[in-house]
Symmetry: C2
Subunit: 199 residues, 2 copies
């Protein structure tokens, strides 16, 4: 299978790569590095990436920015970053890729723990996660040609804990291998419309 | 209690009004009619509404547009309507109202059935609902001064079925009285961070 992995250099992307590269061809995509370069905040850049890759059987998105801030410090602009980049960016990967992906292909998006187990400063992330999970639920029954869609919702990765652990008091850390297997469940399995929680 | 009811002239707004006007002062707000006029797609209009009303104890939002369309017919622009208006519009009601609402006040937003029971053409609505439910989960633990936040998620209202029923095959219709009581549970009760499903 030929899989485009967007956000390949992040901790979640590396977890997906480690598992799926064992048996599939992976095209790594990232904002600055990778086999192809893409900024998912830019719809034209997404189209250009798909034009460059041309044919593919699956898309994994492990990309998307959100702004962490106490709710009372958010402006409309800071709050929107998560909805624009993490939510709409990943949704645009699907809307643009839908006409190009192989029959029976799959899209797997990444959400996260914060809309089921919130933390202070995480409201914008929780909002983006919820949007993506609503999107997956809705889109799954509308996709043609046997195409599937799912989301992986990982808790804080053990490898990310040095950087982000202070935001997540008491949260369990999850192993990258477990996150990788969740992506395998979505890509190699037959699920659709599901949010695969990694806790 | 003095309650601002945004989207008062819609079916959900009327259900909330019928229940809560029995014992509270309701300021009806709408895009074209009401005691105050507000377009929730315009952050400045939201601020102006709060300036005009000045003091209030609760905000109920039963407002927000989405574009219904098969997923493959959505452009980025049509898809964004739901995220911009229904999701970000209601979120801006909270972000702008947070510094002005009374101690112990409450915000109650409206989502809907489509992110738990999807229908064809409803993916943008499902996405907006998910965003709002993520927001409620995240924001509830960040609100100061005893302020609460919840969402009501009604199924298709019986009174709306003539207009929208064709989109919702097999969906149960819910009575407006039941929807009204869900808003009472949020406003008069002590819940926070909850999505009150009306099915």
């Amino acid at each position: 299978m030929k899989i485009i992995l967007v956000g390949a250099s992040g901790d979640v992307g590396e977890a997906a790569y480690a598992e799926l590269s064992k048996r599939h061809e992976i095209i790594r995509a990232g904002r600055h590095t990778g086999d192809v370069v893409v900024d998912i905040g830019d719809k034209c850049a997404i189209d250009a990436m798909y034009d460059e890759v041309c044919t593919f059987d699956a898309v994994i998105s492990a990309a998307g920015n959100v702004h962490f801030s106490p709710l009372s410090d958010h402006t409309e602009a800071t709050f929107r970053i998560g909805l624009e980049n993490k939510a709409m960016g990943q949704i645009n990967l699907v809307l643009s890729g839908l006409g190009r992906i192989s029959d029976g292909g799959s899209f797997t998006l990444t959400t996260g723990v914060l809309n089921r187990d919130p933390v202070i400063s995480g409201t914008s992330a929780a909002t983006a996660n919820g949007a993506l999970e609503g999107f997956v639920t809705g889109a799954a029954i509308e996709l043609p040609r046997g195409i599937r869609i799912n989301a992986v919702s990982p808790g804080l990765l053990r490898v990310s804990a040095d950087r982000y652990g202070a935001f997540f008091p008491g949260h369990e850390r999850v192993a990258s291998e477990k996150v990788g297997r969740a992506f395998a469940k979505c890509v190699d399995g037959a699920l659709t419309g599901q949010v695969v929680v990694v806790a």
